[in-house]
Structures are given as structure tokens and as C-alpha cells.
Assembly symmetry: C2
Homo-oligomer: 456 residues x 2
Amino acid sequence: MNKPLKFLLLVLVIASTTLEAQIDSIFHQKLLNITRTALQDTFGYNLLRELCRIGPRLSGSKNLVKAESFLLDKLETLGFDTVYTQTFTTNNWKRGDIARFEGNKGERFSVLALGGSNGTGGVIKAEVLEVGDFGELEKFKDAVKGKIVFYNFAFPQNVYESFESYGPAVNYRVNGAIRAAAYGAVGVLIRSIASNYDDVTHTGTLRYLDTIPKIPAGALGVQSAVRLSRLLAESKGSGKKQLFEFEMNCRTEEPAPVKNIIAEIRGTEFPGEVIVVGGHLDSWDVGEGAHDDGAGVVQSLEVLQLIKKTGFKPKRTVRMVLFANEENGLAGGRGYGKFAEEEPAIDIAAIESDRGGFTPRGFSVDATPEVLAKMEKWLPYFSRTGIEWFKKGGSGADISQIKNSKALIGYVPDSQRYFTYHHSANDLFTAVDHRELELGSAAITILTLLISEFGL
Amino acid sequence: MNKPLKFLLLVLVIASTTLEAQIDSIFHQKLLNITRTALQDTFGYNLLRELCRIGPRLSGSKNLVKAESFLLDKLETLGFDTVYTQTFTTNNWKRGDIARFEGNKGERFSVLALGGSNGTGGVIKAEVLEVGDFGELEKFKDAVKGKIVFYNFAFPQNVYESFESYGPAVNYRVNGAIRAAAYGAVGVLIRSIASNYDDVTHTGTLRYLDTIPKIPAGALGVQSAVRLSRLLAESKGSGKKQLFEFEMNCRTEEPAPVKNIIAEIRGTEFPGEVIVVGGHLDSWDVGEGAHDDGAGVVQSLEVLQLIKKTGFKPKRTVRMVLFANEENGLAGGRGYGKFAEEEPAIDIAAIESDRGGFTPRGFSVDATPEVLAKMEKWLPYFSRTGIEWFKKGGSGADISQIKNSKALIGYVPDSQRYFTYHHSANDLFTAVDHRELELGSAAITILTLLISEFGL
């Protein structure tokens, strides 16, 4: 190569690098503005306040219908390109107004029916058999018949990531009734799956099998579980049997309609490539469903709002999906998955927020190593959001139903307080910090815009 | 080199590398056990509950004396190598029982005296002049005389790191009275330095100069500040002047004694090299001083307790210092700094926890680039604690008085919620999450042990 040409090339390379760096820097500045705007205008936080005022949003409840209308009305005013709904039919469980568990000397315990549980059909009077885990259940299986089995499995506290503790504990909530009924139990109690030490009860779904009696099951508050355990030990020590009364009038009614709520900003270059951002609109019927998953709902909606407010024109279509019925049926997630498979557009990526409205930590990504590596290179764009990492891992229950996507992504905020609130009367708007929530909205928006800009 | 010798050397290198890796791995396992133990036994959390039950701990208060006795009694039972105290005399400010700010048509606002403020000496009746910042004060300086100046400077919400927002806001609390009095103001109000939107008032220290009248100063709750601003705008619009009443009976009494409380585990190899871990025992006189700085107190004590409980024998001396009087005088920090300069032992490093009991994020390190680089290599040891970084930066007010240390280190937890609680009635034990607090104890203990093991 002759020298002048070499020089010219060098100049071109420097110029293009500088230009690239400038564009990059402008883009980064625009992304930083997303975070500033989210923290400042608290659009999502104020929306969450209004949503929570409606009350909890269990599938089949009047509150859920109100919440659907509230959000559709709100979306009308926000001027996105498309707003539509998808309707499904799902099971319709009602808690009833009685949940009582008492010792026959008047000892009272706080108890709440597990979601989907049958009622007790009047009052069950029975002894209680306490077991620490399924291993102990097997050991004492011959003593189970006619009794209420009490799984006193404590939330493992010694693990950093609280979702890792949830895994082993939830096994007793989901499968405890089946396993105990197989040995002739007449009822089941679990220790609430909670990381704190109050006496608030935590519900959540259970499983039944058609081949095994569907016995009623409830959750005791952590302090009640500790007290019951002590009482049983004392009664064992004294050699006297103690009877308990267990009564719940929960029941399952006729299937009810539920809605996925969808809104889009159409892509300017690749409208057929869709990035889904979502959370689930339904909640359990206690508390206000603020962290689970009111936070995910308002953050998903705020992604669209922040894109619009800050003047971004995304190259790819950004689609908010507020999924129906995640808690007890997954009708919305399954229905959307089927729709996504059939529609001509391709969902290239999906991000779900369903781990509460806490300070951002990272993103858990179900994708090839190449896609994950690409995302890791984007980390500098997340400065001043709290996001520190991308890791290979699971995403979210709703979006897990989407096939053929290049990346299914779970937004991961700090998990330390989540199981203080989860599925309980503690899950209130007042338990959400506006800065933590808004940083989540910003982080998800930034990831959405990076995928929209650069593809996967 | 001949071949057999070369081979032998290779074998030796491999063997020693493997051995090193094994030791390293055993050490890492022992450090992981620190986190598990902290989360499981909640020693620090339970200690914080007891400490907070005493009430807030302002220098000169009976509560502080009770808290000192409580902790000294507790330390007696824990069997550390040395427990001793250092006594200093410091100023003794009392809030009194009156703090009132009202419009003359009965409009009421929540108000709290700033720490160290003089009382109003009866009722001040005056107009209020609102300014957004010191720039506006200069602009309207000719209108200040005889009025109460109201600095309505809002906490900057659009910044990720809330301590960055505190900086500009605190300027009005610290210097507002001096600046306004210089132009003839008779009183000062600030908008509480708070990151949330409730009406709880936040106190904190102010400065006076002997050359300028020492006018009384208070903080309005954020909602009260917003209401006052609206009222002033309305009154301006109507062209009518409105008078306000301002009354506080706070005062400064005779100097009072305060104590630094110190406990040590002596180093097995280098007892003359000391690693200080500390927080401050005093607090403002509202709330319970739970995050500020009960958290730092119990975390510092828990460092010693975790080292002992998990069977570590630190090579270097680990010294807990519970500093006196950080909030309004820094007598403890200054006194300790002097002591450290004079004693034969060397404080090679000091770690302060004074940013609340939230989930760990990193360490802010005042040290040479070499020392910082050494610490950064330790990051893998902090897996499963929440710690993600070491950064060059400031440490803490108390330890900043230590000279000639190789590293002054500030423990940095998540900062999003700190200014919801800081210096206010919101700063209660119930605002602390046990998992977040204990992870902090674990992270500080791990850093202490790494410095003890490897030096700096």
C-alpha cells in the first residue's frame, strides 16, 4: 500500500471510530435520560397507587374486572399505536369468609386457605401430626390416617438469593395435600413461605390429583407455626392427645373470563420484530398485589410511556402484555404463547417483571451464549440504574410460553424483602419504594431500547 | 537447565499452585459460612431490636447513657479480648417540647427544629419569603429583613445515588441560617431533606457563626413545604401580606460526657496492626436511630461475634469502635483519631458503616490505586453477599479522623430508601429488614478477614 492511501485509510478509520463513539455517546445520553425521567416523574409509582386502591385482583373477582377497565381507560389516554385484549376462560376460586384453626382448649392460630383448596365441609376435628419434610412424612406414614398433617418446613434463611429458598419450601405448598392425602390425612397445614418472622399468612396455589382425595389445605403464619409446634411437643411430653378444629369454606365456582391487555409502539424499521415486555395483572386475593405483580404491570406500561415521553422511535415493535391469570392457571401466558406462534410477527425477545418492585440487580436470560455475550457488552449502558449483570437463567412464568424467541428475559431486582410480602396481606402499595420501582422501569426500558436498536 | 530438574520444578510449581488453590478454596468456604451464619442466627438484628427499644440516642440524653450501659453489659457476655471506653465532653442540645409553625388563619404545618438551633424566644410573627436556592436569596436579599426565609429546595430525585442528591440539599440545612441572617432574617425554614413524599420532618445539624445573629431554624415536612409554597403563591396573587407564627423552645445546655465503646479480638500474628470496624452510637432525637446508625453499631459488633462464632483466628487485631457524637460534634471520631495517632499500634485500615442497613452493593475506598487494585481482586470472595464493586471514594465521618491508615473504607449498601428514614421519626427498627442488615454484617466481616489474612 502506498503511503498517502495508508494515511487516508487511517484518517477514515479514526473518523469513523470517532463518529461511532459520538453516536454511541448520544445514544447513551438518551438512555441516561430514561432513568432521570423515570425517577423524576414517578408515572409508574402513581399508577401503582391507583391500581392498588382497587384492591387485590384474583381471577374471577370483581376487582380484576375493575382493574382491567381502569388500565384500558388509562391506555386510551396515552396514545400508543395499538391497544387490544385477548379473552380466556379460567378457574374461579373463592376464599369464602371462614378460615379457622384452633386447639380444643381455645388456642388460636392465624390460618389462610391455600389457593384452590377445597373447604372443610363443616368442622374437621382431628389430631395434628407435625413433620419437618416429606422424608419425615414417609417415616410416620402409618400414623397419618385421620389426622391433619402439619408441614413445619422453615424458609431456608442461610441463602443469599431468596428465590433459591422459595424452591424447596414451595414443594410443601404445591404437593403437600396430595402426599398427605395418599396416606389418609383429612387436612393439611403448611408453615407460611415467608422470609420474615411475623404472623401474617401467605397463600399460593396447590395441586390436587383426581385419583387422590382432595383434602383442604391452609397456611399458618410463621409465629403460629412455631407456637403450634411447641404446643404439640408439650402435648406429646404429657402423653395426652390433643384435638384441633379446622374450618374453611373456600370453594371453586363456575369458570370466569379474564383478559390479556396489550399495547404497542410500532417499530419504524422492523415492525414485524416484536419485543414483549410484561407482568401479570392478576394477584392473590389478600393484600393489594403491589409487589406481585402490580410492580411488573406498571413497569411494563411505563416502558411504553418512557419511550414516548423521551421521544424515542424504536426500530422494532415494543409490545406491552399484561398477562391474565398467572397465579392460578396461567391462562393468559398459555393463550399469548399460542397467539405468538400463529401471528405473522416474530417475538424476538420477551422481558418479564415478576419479582417485585425492588432495586435493580440484573437480568436472568434464557438464550444462546452468543446472545448472552451480546447483552453483556451492553452493561455500560446500564450505569446509574443498579443493573450489574446478565446471567444465564430462567425468565418468567408467562413469557416462558413463548416459543422460538431469541431471548426470554427475567428482570431481577434485589430479592431480600420479596418473601416478606409475597401472596400475603403485607403486599401493599405502602411496601413499595418509588425510587426502587422507577429504577426497575428505567432498566427494563433501556434493555428494550437496546434490543430494538441493535437486534439480537 | 537439565531435563529432570526442569521436570521437578514443573511438578513443584503445579503442586504449590494446587495447594494454594486448595487453601484458597477452604478460605473461601469459611467466608461463605460467615454469610450463612449471619443470615441464620440474626444476632445483629435481635441486638438492633433491643437497642432501638431504648429510644433515640442524642449526645447528652439519658437514652444514650442507657444504650452505652446496655452495650457494655452485652460485650461483657461475649468474651472478646479487650473491652474499654474513651470519654469525651460534647455539646448538649435539647429540642424542648414546642415546635410550631402556623399561618395566621390557622394553617398548620409540620415542623421540627434543626439540631443546634436556638429557640425562638417566644413567638416570632413574621412574613415568609420563599426562595428556591441561594441564588434566589441573593436576588431578593433586600426583601429579607424581618422575615422568615423558607428555602424550598427539593431533594433532586433524578439521580441514581441518593447520597449525590443529599449533597446539594444539605447545604441549605447547614448554611441556610447564616446566609439568611446576614440579610436580616429572623428565622429560617428548610424543606426536609427526604427522598419520599410524606409529611414527616427530618432534622440534622446546622452551623452558626459568632459574627452573625444565630436565628432559629426548622425543617418542614415535604408535604407541608409544598402546601406553604402554594399558600404563599395564592397570597402573593391576592396582593395581601400574610403573617405566620413560629415558635420553638430548643436550647443548648451544659456540655455532657459521651463514650466511644471499643472491643477487640487480638491478632495472632500481627497484633500491632489494627483493623477498625465502626459505626456511631449516637443518633438524632427522633425515631429510634435504627438505620442511622443503629445498623452500623450492630454490624460492627457482629463482625467480632461472627469471627468468634465461626472459629476464625485473625492474624491482625480486629477492633470494633462505636463512635460517640457523630451527629453534632464528632467528638468521638476526633478523640479516636488523636488516640490512634498516639498509640503504638497502627490502624492499617478502617471500615465504617453509616449508610443504613440495606442490601450490600460495594465499598468506597480512600486508598492508593495499588491498595484499591488489591481489594478488587478479592471480589470473588464476596459472592453471595450482594457486594459487586470497590470504588475510589470517601469513607465515613468518624474514621476520616484516622491519619496514616492504608485504607479508609465506607461500606455502601443500596441507597434508594436511606433518605426516607434519615434523621426522622421514620427511622425505626421496623424499617430494617433482617436479611439486608445481616448481609451487611457478613460483607464487612469478610472484608475485615481478608485484610487480616492478606494485609494491605
